[in-house]
Point group: C2
Chain length 173, copies 2
């Protein structure tokens, strides 16, 4: 499919509710474990999504629209959540993510992005010039990628319990 | 984590709502495409989940509890949804899945499964003896595996649109 701002918002808008429906009030056996050293639990991922709402997607869209390639994006801190989530429950993080996302979609809509705006460019600190369309599509794929990750991490908690099925289930590979 | 019937039901119980939150009322650009030849769209997957509710998990649990290894499981039809979903909207399939799942969880609870029951075995037509615990854990992992699959299939619709980000997003690989 071709990029559509409206169809992107359809996804961005529902991600907080998807994560709440998937994770809210679950025992920590499902939400605290990860996939091994240097991997993230569902709890870690929700903290990471919050940090993205605060420092990544909308701030970078503003840089593209207001400054273009003159001002490279601020590098994103992939480990911020390990400090920022401290002392918070997963339910609190889910609410916090929803609140930031609601605000950011309002901001996104208020930017009145035109077709011409979508071709404007900014500089990513790792891989150079990207368009506003690339950035907004990446925001959507990033949401779906973390739903993908969370469901995989949860599935793996039953790797041994499924017995012979483990060979036949791609999510456990 | 060790298998727990209660913690398994926590997941089984919420899958229909997760899929509704993720898919309901989306444009078909998100829900009808697949990942290429012989792969499934989100629409196909929901039909497959319905067929599993009707012919797979609870019927197999009953075979284990009532007949043990005397009666191998009926092979599962992985393509039934291509006929059974015909003429139905995705919203209809989501409701149908929810209805079957609600009934099946009631049935599961009514079976009053004991610790001893969990070690009882049945014969899978492809890989032989499995315990009731394996079967119920596989039901949970199967749910999570299809949430994993659906979010990946949706993400891939924007593979080109993300531009340079495609190299950095595992879900697009």
């Amino acid at each position: 499919m071709k990029f559509s701002l409206e169809k992107s918002i359809h996804i961005l808008d529902r991600t907080p509710a998807v994560l709440k429906t998937l994770l809210r009030n679950l025992p920590e056996d499902w939400t605290a474990p990860n996939e091994g050293p240097d991997t993230w639990s569902p709890y870690d991922v929700v903290g990471h999504l919050i940090h993205g709402e605060k420092t990544d997607w909308i701030p970078r869209a503003r840089i593209i629209l207001e400054q273009g390639e003159k001002q490279p994006f601020t590098p994103f801190d992939r480990f911020a959540q390990f400090e920022e989530s401290k002392g918070k429950t997963l339910n609190q993080l889910l609410d916090e993510f929803e609140s930031h996302r609601t605000d950011n979609i309002k901001t996104l809509e208020s930017l009145n992005i035109s077709q011409a705006d979508l071709t404007k460019t900014g500089i990513h600190p790792e891989f150079g010039a990207v368009t506003l369309e690339n950035l907004l599509a990446a925001w959507v794929v990033h949401d779906l990628g973390h739903i993908y990750q969370i469901s995989r991490v949860m599935a793996k908690q039953y790797t041994n319990e499924v017995g012979p099925w483990s060979q036949y289930m791609g999510v456990l590979k």
